[in-house]
Amino acid sequence: MLAFVNFYLIPGVIVGSIYALGAVGVSLIFAILRFAHFAHGDLMTLGAYLALSLVAAAGLAPFLALPFAMAGAIVVALVVHRLFYAPLANRPTIVLLIASFGVALMLRSAIQLLWGVQVETYVQGIQRPLVFFDDLRIAERHIYIVLATVVAIVALHVFLTATRAGKAMRAVADQPELAELSGIDRKAVVRQVWVIGGGLAAMAGVFLGIDGELDPNMGWDLLLPVFAAALLGGIGRPYGAIAGGYVIGLAQELATYPWIGAEPLLSPGYKSAVAFALMVGLLLWRPQGLLRGREGT
């Protein structure tokens, strides 16, 4: 039982948190700008590497480097928007999607150029987990990751439901023209979307690095589960994306548990196929997303 918790449930919650943080951004960007942001994975990678530089240069703990990595990724997201997406604002959104594909390639190449192609880690050596009740092993970093994710999600919820700017963001997602007729400044909302999306992407990237290692493809490789999570929640619905992230994360890990007999149900090498299968199944069965009951947020 504890092996199940230690090696399947907890890792599922951790990757779920990472997917959720990425998927929220994808979902919000879609809600406001109406395109699937293919450079989101590379924004995560960028966040992870920005933190790496601070860890290496200033000897900061990865968690302390996180705010700086987020700030850096936000600046890059805003600049990318200004240079590549804003000029295409009046074009069909498929053009934006393709542009974001190009941005993804550029970001990844820049990361390879600046930091190299080799695998990196934040901390060398083995980290001992904390042990509770004799057998329950939880790594300290995992506690921080889950706590920070919860804080980020609660903060986002408060922003969206209790602040003027957050409500304006929901209004633009709900009815862009009516929002304009209410005097809401769409450009400001778009900037805030990149601040949230970029910041949370960096957070996901840093957590991914803390949980394992860094390589220039780490974010790109996550695009499939992150998009699957956003779709699962009903694209454009941030709360759905969070739930979707945890569903995909848990499904991936739990699928490798030896439910029947002693062998893993699914060989760990096929983990990412779980997200793919879930996504395809969902698109066939409920294209509007799992949680979507009626119109609206």
């Binding site: 929901r170 009815q175 609206g296």
Partner: protein, 234 residues
């Protein structure tokens, strides 16, 4: 006093002109009603006033100043409120949030204005925490109007505020629109139910094929045999 004066509006969405010379005006404390067949360009004319349409010719002045070149949000900030024909509420947001969005540009506290809206539209008060998309048709129209009124516009543009409502609800909405008008707002309302709307109008505009056919007081238009024959079904 004519708070809005739109003259010779010509323009459309692409190469083809939808408006081929439309004149409209609105007066403080008066209700103007725009009627005409489907596709006549009624909604398009309101969009032109709101700056949501590229005009090839024509002039629009609001409170004596030209609106030419101003963005939609700048026109809203000047004191124009609008309820579009479709998608006129934030469905996923609560009634209260809809009103808050209507007051987005208001600097003073919103609470007194929100209470005023509940006084004008009492059924909304108890639904304040419900998503607007869950309300009945009549209540949605109330939310739509209340949202537009939150900014206390001096000119209110309404595009078919009774679309899809039963005659009883329609009469109710019309009565509230008269109340709003009597408080000093200039109201310009597009309506499908031409006869009933013209009956409560101070001024009526009959549009067809993108141009004014008849303009006069509501009573005059209802009595005019030509208008009756062509647009009011006899």
């Amino acid at each position: 006093m004519r708070i809005l004066e739109a003259q010779g509006l010509i323009g459309g969405y692409g190469a083809m002109d939808i408006l081929k010379g439309v004149d409209l005006f609105a007066e403080a404390g008066r209700l103007g009603v725009v009627v005409g067949p489907n596709g006549a360009g009624k909604s398009t004319a309101l969009k032109a006033v709101l700056g949501m349409l590229e005009l090839r010719a024509g002039s629009i002045t609001f409170e004596g100043e030209s609106l030419g070149g101003l963005s939609t949000s700048a026109r809203i900030a000047r004191g124009i409120g609008a309820v579009p024909q479709n998608d006129n509420i934030f469905q996923g947001m609560t009634v209260l949030e809809n009103l808050e969005m209507g007051g987005y540009l208001v600097e003073s506290p919103l609470a007194p204005r929100i209470e005023r809206m509940f006084a004008i539209f009492p059924p909304l008060a108890e639904k304040r925490r419900q998503p607007a998309g869950e309300l009945s048709g009549g209540q949605r129209q109330m939310v739509a109007m209340a949202r537009a009124l939150m900014a206390e516009p001096r000119l209110l543009l309404l595009d078919e505020p009774t679309a899809g409502l039963s005659p009883a609800f329609r009469a109710d909405i019309f009565a509230r629109i008269r109340t709003i008008t009597e408080e000093g707002v200039a109201v310009l309302m597009v309506e499908q139910n031409a006869r009933e709307a013209l009956a409560i109008a101070d001024t009526g505009f009959v549009l067809a094929a993108g141009a004014n056919r008849f303009t006069g007081s509501g009573a005059e238009l209802v009595a005019d045999p030509d208008v009756r024959a062509a647009f009011l079904g006899g």
